[in-house]
Symmetry: C2
Amino acid sequence: MKQKITLKHIAKELEVSISTVSKALKNSEEIGRDTKEKVQAFAKLYNYKPNNIAISLKNKRTKNIGVIIPDIVHHFFTTVFRGIEKYANKQGYNVIVCVSDESFDKEVINMEMLANGSIDGFIMSLSAETQQKQDFNHLKEVTEQGIPLVLFDRVSEEVACDKVVINDMEVAYQAVNKLIEEGRKKIALVTTENYFNVSNQRAEGYTKALINDGRKLDDKLILKLPYKGVEDHMIEDFINTTDMDGILCVNELFAILCLRLAKKKGLRVPEDVSIIGFTNGILSRYCSPTLTTIAQHGEEMGERAAQMLIERVESEIDEEEETYRTEVIEATLIERESTK
Amino acid sequence: MKQKITLKHIAKELEVSISTVSKALKNSEEIGRDTKEKVQAFAKLYNYKPNNIAISLKNKRTKNIGVIIPDIVHHFFTTVFRGIEKYANKQGYNVIVCVSDESFDKEVINMEMLANGSIDGFIMSLSAETQQKQDFNHLKEVTEQGIPLVLFDRVSEEVACDKVVINDMEVAYQAVNKLIEEGRKKIALVTTENYFNVSNQRAEGYTKALINDGRKLDDKLILKLPYKGVEDHMIEDFINTTDMDGILCVNELFAILCLRLAKKKGLRVPEDVSIIGFTNGILSRYCSPTLTTIAQHGEEMGERAAQMLIERVESEIDEEEETYRTEVIEATLIERESTK
DNA sequence: TATTAACACGAAACCGTTTGCGTAACCTCT
DNA sequence: AGAGGTTACGCAAACGGTTTCGTGTTAATA
């Protein structure tokens, strides 16, 4: 096992000082021609690479980004992550991922683990529990320490930081409008408990579209489900007991379940009922009939988030005068077989 | 913005030495009662947390694990990652993820980035290109430097390290046997080009099961597809021109495509043709008919890999005498509607 | 009263780099 | 020959901790 070689080793071997070696490797003008060549040749021969940790300590820059997401086995987060990783890597950054598992406590613990020097900044999407509790002290502490933070998708107005979101309200509005244009009379909404910012926005878009068309809201057409532990019967009851000819679902799973249970009831999709879901995932593409969905462009979102974060990290101005930006990515409706 | 507090700050403020502060915070016997209390109170008040980077440099231990996988938007890798992250976090480790994107070069670059002190060990699954090229020098270099490595799923015999795999051959054998027991006469195999260790193992199980039943192999019943860029027509031609009543697919996507295209041809599943896929992902659970699949237990795999790695990292014995283990996780057949 | 042990703390080395500054040796010019 | 200027390098501090060892003070013991 050949030990990792350090400046000290090279210095001793070549009988020069450590600083000479360091400067020689950086091609400093201070160092003589032949010394430089000697050092560089030796370093190449033994495949010298500077120790990242030492450099991090010196520079107070780790070139690591901390990403905290609620779930990794989840198409949307996974695509966002891919975007983050892609951009970050291009800029020479590595990505440390922690999964909050929708838990407030884990989110806090993970942040604290990473905030002690391990990373230069955070990219996060809030856990369900955090959104429910509306407790953002851990985020505030981090930003107060001067660690840049970018929130995406599941954000909160109470946290002052850069954000990347999609135009949830508008795109939900468009989606419902499409159903209206199809001639749907009874359009249902399948959403989550209302502590999710995104669900609220989407519900608002739904409402606006109906109102705009001169209809009035019918609570019977709105189903609120828990975020986790959804079981078939919850949706089945709703579909079996409610008369509807169009459904907007705030996520992909709900849409797939609606599709399946509508078919089970004997409804034809899209003849009897149209279905539109959020998240243009693999399920929507491969189920049958294929699902019309709203693509959130997760990868782009991740790239933008990473870009915003790295800009913050690398900007020299310490006090950014608190001019935080919120980037809005335009979601797009992908029409497939579940609508006409 | 309150700056991160260090030992030095505390020392100056309390007019003691840095070492006294350090010891006091560790509750050392060396330090007097009241000094300890004073220091600890001050530290708590200002929320002092030691700098991870400094500790890493001192200990030559980062408490970071490097994970390199071919793709993150992929159910199997994602579940493995979840297992890794779960176990690692429990042990106080963080996980740095890099995505090789099935590229040899990216795999090499990522490894080099992380190998210079950023991590204590690697958990990897080989990229398609690496398996194709059969070039493992980057892996060997890393292990020669004494950095522990655990390979999972896509492994190679040429690399001496710990490994975690599933019993691909046996479970494929079982799956085909199930089709035989159903009375299937013409069982097809849809697999990838043969540089993938896992595909080879699965193909071998397929072959063995047929031979064992006294049949002979029919090349016309075997379809080899590229790993990326599979298009419908490749499978469609195969299904339309070949007579078959059972299909084993080496991954989930192939199975879903077969299912769809068999249905398109007018075949009933499972009446006319049975389909079994690998990877018990979300697609298999929610398509219709639901797919019988082989569950690879990715999460368990990840946990085992993390456990093996951390044991290596933390074992004091530097020379492990090269007794590397290969753990085999038992895959299980999940029967659903696509088989009888 | 002199010796010694216990106590409580500080100095300094170390982890691996970077970098500002000091300086010995040589060169050049007058 | 001495002043002044290069050249080519080393010293040491710094990043933020941990840890070994040394030491001044006090109290206990002979």
